[in-house]
Symmetry: C2
Subunit: 362 residues, 2 copies
């Protein structure tokens, strides 16, 4: 097989030094998480038992909320949170960003299952600002903010802007929900504890397989009335499994392992983005990352970028991305999230890879 015929994903898989992420998602992840767990440890049982209750209490405490419930997925947790806020307010209307996970990745579950109408706030290429919320022409039960806003490269509003939005919503009885799929990743930039960020929100969802790098699973935290009600909806959705412990144990293991590394991941993202921005035809969004993630935009056609990347991977063994998506005819982009692997990459090879990429795109 010659390099010219190889797909980008194939070439990436042969690299000695993949740059983003924590490594391949294999069964080893689960085996590692179970290594130090005693075989005699009792399973959770339909949401009860020390295994699930202790983890929920630990996360409630960490997030600074009265209570927390473990869910198999954020899709389930967030639809349910919004449903509860809508029911409390007696109004089946919420607001969120046009590129919100619920709007583009969930097959319209919120609308189809819960008959909740979303109002799309702000433009696709920028964050929701206080002015957008103020400008809402209609009443809503809940506003969802995603920190960071993943689909635009992981951007963040200033903490002051967040405080202002929170105060505005509280003044109007609008519940503020945090899509914190990548909340842990925002903390180094904000210089805040998770609880300090979450204090601005009435309910919070966090994920354990983004920066934390676990297998799957989510926590929904808020007041006890919300979390208790969420258990009823969790059962209705089919998420109240007899045993969720494979996800709980792995979430806990990787939470302990990677939470202390968020600062390191963030610094790595800033450093790597600088290399991308030094490359002809490439630029990152944001220009300077504020979390462990960013998007790379290329002002060349997808095929041209892929050809250049395959050549670089073959020459250096450095793997930058496994896939590229077209934007328009002459531009494309890809997403980078920094994890454990970045610090294992030899810096001289990495620089050589970017020098070659720069040459090939010139």
């Amino acid at each position: 097989m010659t390099n010219e015929k190889m797909t980008l994903a194939e070439a990436y898989n042969r690299c000695d030094y993949p740059v983003p992420g924590n490594g391949k998602r294999t069964v080893r992840m689960l085996k590692e998480a179970l290594e130090r767990v005693e075989g005699e440890t009792a399973s959770d049982f339909y949401g009860t038992g020390p295994l699930i209750e202790n983890f929920q209490a630990k996360l409630a405490d960490y997030l600074g909320k009265p209570a927390a419930v473990f869910f198999p997925s954020g899709t389930m947790a967030q639809q349910i949170a919004l449903r509860i806020w809508c029911d409390r307010r007696g109004l089946m209307k919420v607001a969120y960003h046009p590129l919100c996970h619920l709007e583009i990745h969930e097959e319209d579950g919120l609308k189809e299952l819960h008959r909740i109408e979303p109002v799309l706030l702000a433009d696709k290429d920028r964050l929701i600002a206080l002015e957008d919320v103020r400008g809402l022409g209609e009443d809503i039960a809940c506003l969802l903010l995603e920190l960071p806003q993943r689909e635009i490269g992981g951007q963040l509003p200033s903490f002051e802007e967040l405080e202002a939005i929170s105060a505005y919503c509280r003044g109007r009885g609008i519940a503020l929900h945090l899509d914190g799929a990548r909340l842990f990743e925002t903390l180094p930039y904000y210089g805040k504890t998770a609880a300090e960020v979450c204090a601005l929100f009435d309910s919070v969802y966090v994920s354990f397989y983004k920066g934390i790098g676990g297998i799957a699973g989510a926590i929904l935290a808020g007041d006890a009335a919300l979390t208790e009600r969420s258990k009823v909806w969790k059962r209705r959705h089919g998420g109240d499994l007899i045993a969720l412990y494979p996800y709980i144990l792995s979430s806990d293991h990787y939470f302990e392992k990677r939470l202390p590394k968020m600062e390191q991941y963030y610094r790595g993202a800033v450093e790597l983005a600088e290399l991308y921005n030094g490359c002809r035809a490439l630029s990152t969004r944001p220009a300077v990352p504020v979390t462990n993630m960013f998007h790379v935009h290329a002002s060349v056609p997808k095929e041209r970028l892929e050809t250049a990347l395959v050549a670089v991977y073959g020459e250096t063994g450095i793997g930058l991305t496994a896939n590229v998506r077209p934007i328009e005819e002459h531009s494309c982009s890809f997403e980078i999230s920094i994890g454990d692997l970045y610090e294992t990459v030899p810096k001289d090879l990495l620089h050589r890879a970017f020098e070659r990429l720069n040459e090939l795109l010139s």
Copy 2:
């Protein structure tokens, strides 16, 4: 702690020989399932990849259906199956038994999430018969039959009755859905393959943590249009996890391990029921089990039965049940499912336990 002060569950947990089930639900179950799985095995990825696709194909083949989809839970799989049948027929109405899982254990998810109206067929204490289906005063999109009917002790209609109901439904364009949570357990009695039973149904759900004794997980099988559509609803419900492999690998492991033992479990249930029926004040439902399960009904108050059981457990080390539920003031019942443990129980001790129970209830 004296025996008099011990709760039934405490006394049961101290027994050397628990009689029903496969043993305690602990993390060891997952460790065992992973023992022979290579760490390098790639995770499934949002419903794709060989790990999930191969298991789905294996179960589709076993159940004799064109396609199958793995779900985290039966609650999710069954609501979705019924929703798809209702959408196809353009009629949001189904029929099932008054003690159907969807009616009593799912917090009304079918009604709350899918706005499907159930018609309750037959009485609470008997099976649905062809006459009940014929007597339906209104059109329905789907009839759900549960084999065996768990809440009445695991009773089964004759295979001929099933065939007649199936033919009747097909003649009227009513989809027939199988709640086969315990389908594997019915096969020795019917003397049929799973595919032969499933051929009478348009869609089938099976569970991997009842007789199979896995951790959690379910399969929904049917025509390819149904299974493809079910994936859209699975995502809406929040069940399309990035990785379901902890449940898939354990389902597969215990499927291979316990499927060949269904005949043994069934024979054990028949034998054990005879012991219960020989005991004063106790009788089983059904009188002669047709699967690995049955219910024990006692014509004494719950407290009196519990006191007798705690004494028997203490004297013999035989554990018969960990909990008893009251029916009326002077009667109570409990459920028995036979698994791996039954054949490890010394028969002489078991007989001694029943002799003592008989004395204590006299």
